[in-house]
């Protein structure tokens, strides 16, 4: 068990000014999905008592929610949680306990803030529940929090996940300061790692949709799928920060259905992922122990003239490595394949097609008869 790892999860569905920040239905569902991965033995393996979850339900307990909708968590609620977490980490360090990993997860409404850094970089910022048009300082500069905790070297690694919009606000937003003074430890931070992922790039929205009767954020849905193993390297079975990055960049749009994609029009569905250049290489940071990589469902519709012939699926240098081959292929070849770029060949007909399996569990990648080339 990752006894020295810690996590902070902040999820806000309802805001006091529903016209400014309309209710969301995804953040708490997403937070629970992320928490389930965090606490699972084959996931983050973080002890439950080391996870601080800040949400209206947890803060308000059994009080009648309708009367209190949008009142919590406030900026102060989250700041207090961060200060508590930081003090716990300090106490551990003072007891000479090994430093662990910190997971920070935020979901709600957000925006791109440029406060304090000019043009060079946008800060992903999330509104807290009490925000109104006249109280815009009620927000968290999530990236700044993550970086401050990284710079203090209280943790071996800081993973920051942010599922909220990074649209440009229609009005100027003044900054919300950190609740503590940062004590930088540059020596240690050189051996540390700060990696962040946001569900949207600067000036773009993030999206939620219905999955199995629940509303989920697209980013968190993809993130949790990746963490559960979909992002594992098909050759080594490793799941590093680099694999996570690669998975999110390549697959996030696939989590939307065709109808949903049509509905969002020209909006971009792309994460924003980076790490501090002075920290470790993402390839060297494994999130979970190695295990076999999963395979994904692919249905290949075979051209009429090739049905019953030999077929093979290959990859690698000049596509010489065979993943699977059959002597007599059926009209629809149903096969499970690793997530990589593959060539499917029908040698007797001289036909081939290229395929990238969509690496989402239960999703079927369909290759039509029109996709074959000679």
């Amino acid at each position: 068990m990752a006894d020295n790892d810690m996590a902070l999860i902040v999820a806000i569905d309802d805001y006091s000014d529903g016209a400014f920040c309309p209710p969301l239905r995804g953040p708490n569902n997403d937070a629970m999905a992320f928490r389930r991965w965090l606490t699972s033995d084959n996931g983050g393996d973080v002890p439950g008592d080391r996870i601080t979850q800040v949400s209206a339900r947890r803060l308000l307990g059994k009080q009648p929610l309708p009367a209190l909708i949008g009142s919590r968590p406030t900026l102060e609620d989250v700041r207090e949680a961060i200060c508590q977490l930081r003090m716990s980490a300090r106490a551990m360090r003072e007891r000479d306990e090994p430093v662990g990993r910190l997971y920070l997860y935020f979901a709600g409404h957000g925006f791109a803030s440029d406060f304090g850094n000019g043009l060079g970089q946008m800060f992903p910022a999330m509104y807290t529940a009490e925000v109104t048009r006249d109280l815009l300082h009620a927000h968290l500069l999530c990236w700044t929090y993550g970086k401050a905790l990284f710079e203090e070297s209280l943790f071996r690694e800081v993973f920051l996940f942010m599922d909220f919009c990074q649209t440009a606000p229609g009005q100027r937003v003044t900054a919300s300061p950190l609740p503590f003074d940062v004590r930088r430890d540059e020596l240690h931070s050189l051996n540390s790692f700060f990696f962040w992922m946001a569900g949207a790039t600067a000036y773009n929205p993030s999206f939620e949709h219905r999955v199995d009767g629940k509303t989920r954020g697209i980013f968190t849905e993809a993130l949790v799928a990746a963490l559960k193993g979909c992002a594992r390297d098909p050759d080594t079975g490793a799941l590093t920060a680099q694999d996570l990055k690669k998975y999110l960049y390549n697959t996030m749009p696939h989590f939307l259905t065709d109808d949903e994609r049509a509905q969002i029009g020209h909006a971009v569905v792309e994460p924003d992922i980076d790490y501090l250049p002075n920290s470790k290489e993402p390839r060297s940071v494994a999130l979970v122990p190695d295990a076999p990589a999963p395979t994904f469902r692919v249905h290949l519709h075979i051209p009429r003239q090739a049905i019953g012939q030999r077929a093979e699926i290959t990859f690698g240098d000049d596509c010489r490595q065979v993943v699977v081959a059959v002597e007599h292929v059926r009209r629809i070849w149903k096969v499970r394949l690793p997530w990589r770029l593959l060539e499917v060949r029908l040698p007797d007909s001289g036909l081939f097609t290229l395929v990238e399996p969509i690496p989402i569990p239960e999703r079927v990648t369909k290759v039509s008869v029109d996709a074959w080339q000679s």
Binding site: A19, F20, P22, C83, M87, R90, F111, A112, D114, F115, G116, N117, G118, L119, G120, M122, R133, A168, P169, G170, Q171, R172, V173, T174, A175, P177, L178, P179, F180, D181, V182, R183, R184, T201, A202, Y203, P234, D235, K246, N250, G265, H266, A267, V268, E270, F315, G316, D317, D318, C319, R320, W339, R340, L341, L342, E343, F352, L354, V355, E356
Partner: protein, 486 residues
């Protein structure tokens, strides 16, 4: 991809010379990238080619075989997000294009001056079956103002409407003006007011194309942040799609803060075809690439020929080697990246931006969208803007007001904000005792230290997005209010 097979030269060219191209190997790792074109030696196998323009992307899988020494991939045009109704864009309408071309060949609607022109085109496009209603007027709540805030044109009244299609209204307004700074001012029902800097250069027509956006859940009006701005000599709508596409792809790159530029593009914008807006955008892309050599110098030189009076060109001269040393930049530039050049330079040259000019006051109010300088209009009662007398600007200094009583020109509210920013700045710059969680109160010594220490002061300038001279005035005002200064 290790192996003994021969290598193949894979080349990829995109229809858009400023499109980003990424090459991804069969394990989904990015192995190469380029702008407009890409050439990379690979082993035979399967690859993914990804094209990116602004926020739009397109992917295709490619099989590279070992029977040829080279493999070429050509990628067709990707529709782009532009408010100009050109081909291969998401918001193109032939009817709009025809109406603009016809009207722009005629006389201006208004003549407020001479020497320069501002042409405004605002449209709305509502998809069939959408729950969104087209705006009542594409230029609703929009006006042209001078730098003092005086209304010159109420576009809702003065513009010409083309309402052939109720789901796609179009309004145009062509105005002859004196060269200088103007403000596109938007005043929304929610009370929110924003201004966009618009500089009309001598001898140029500045064309602004606007679509609509939601500023608040209830307020839908022109989208200043995503405006498409072009310039030409004669005002006609004679842009070839190539020039518009190039400019717009460069603009979309700046919006994402991504350098998308090749030497071919720079040569194109510096060539015989006069394209000053393309030159401005290309120059900033060069700076994003940290390329300030000959290409940058020739681009700025060409811009100085075309429009020596433009504040964005003046801003670019700050990065020449050796730099020109303009002073008294009281006029905001149009591009946010130009603003940043001015702000940065003000840290070593405090007289660059006069403390009481419009340029000194907008930084803390800038909206965070790129690439244009758009700011939330100050409350005139609470924070009066003190302007320079001179409406024009160039490399010659503007008159700098004598700050006899600096703090009298800065309101108590601004001092409150300065104090709050100082507390936050101190938090981030000066770590204190490990167990101290509550921020220490701000002391006069902290302010004095900031005034004395050039490096810290420069950091504070960037931190507050406020030019040096204004920061100096704020700090002096703060000390005076605390009873320990001047």
């Amino acid at each position: 991809m290790p192996g003994n097979h021969k290598r193949v030269q894979l080349t990829v060219t995109a229809r858009d010379t400023a499109a980003e191209i990424f090459l991804i190997d069969d394990t989904l790792n990015k192995i190469a990238q380029g702008v407009g074109a890409l050439s990379y030696t690979v082993s035979p196998g399967v690859y993914k080619v990804k094209l990116k323009i602004g926020t739009q992307t397109q992917e295709q899988l490619v099989r590279v075989r070992d029977d040829q020494p080279t493999h070429h991939v050509e990628i067709a045009a990707l529709p782009i997000m532009t408010a100009v109704p050109i081909a291969d864009s998401f918001f193109s309408r032939d009817a709009h294009r025809d109406a603009i071309a016809e009207r722009y060949s005629g006389a201006p609607h208004l003549e407020l001056g001479s020497g320069s022109h501002i042409y405004l085109c605002a449209r709305d496009l509502v998809a069939p079956g959408s729950s969104i209603e087209a705006v009542s007027h594409p230029m609703r709540a929009l006006s042209l103002r001078d730098r003092m805030g005086t209304v010159l044109v109420d576009f809702e009244i003065e513009s010409e409407r083309f309402d052939g299609d109720p789901s796609a209204p179009l309004a145009l307004c062509m105005v002859a003006v004196d060269p200088g700074l103007y403000l596109l001012h938007l005043e929304l029902e929610s009370g929110l007011q924003v201004d966009q800097a618009l500089f009309a250069s001598l001898g140029w027509h500045t064309h602004i194309y606007l679509l609509q956006r939601y500023w608040t859940p209830d307020d839908r009006a022109v989208d200043l942040l995503n405006a498409s701005i072009l310039m030409n000599r004669d005002g006609t709508f004679d842009y070839s799609d190539e020039i518009v596409r190039l400019n717009e792809v460069l603009r979309l790159g700046l919006v994402q803060n991504r350098p998308v530029l090749s030497s071919d593009i720079v040569q194109a914008v510096n060539g015989k075809a006069e394209n000053p807006m393309g030159g401005l955008l290309a120059a900033h892309h060069l700076l994003l690439r940290e390329s300030v050599g000959d290409l940058f110098a020739s681009t700025v030189a060409r811009l100085l020929e075309l429009m020596p009076d433009h504040p964005d060109v003046t801003a670019l001269t700050l990065r020449l080697t050796p730099p020109l040393h303009p002073t008294g930049l009281s006029t905001p530039p149009m591009l946010r990246h130009s603003w940043q050049l001015i702000l940065d330079a003000s840290t070593s040259q405090p007289d660059l931006v006069p403390a009481y000019s419009l340029n000194a006051q907008i930084g803390s109010r800038l909206l965070s969208g790129l690439p244009w300088v758009v700011w939330q209009t100050p409350d005139l009662i609470d924070s009066p803007i003190i302007l320079d007398d001179d409406g024009t600007m160039g490399l010659a200094p503007d008159p700098v007001p004598t700050p006899a009583l600096p703090d009298t020109r800065i309101t108590p509210t601004e001092l409150d904000k300065t104090e709050a920013a100082l507390v936050q700045f101190k938090q981030q710059q000066q770590p204190i005792d490990l167990l101290e969680n509550a921020p220490a109160p701000l002391s006069d010594a902290d302010i004095d230290a900031l005034l004395d220490d050039e490096t810290s002061r420069a950091h504070f300038v960037r931190f507050t997005n406020t030019p040096q001279a204004r920061v100096n005035a704020q700090l002096a005002g703060l000390l005076k209010r605390r009873g320990s200064g001047g």
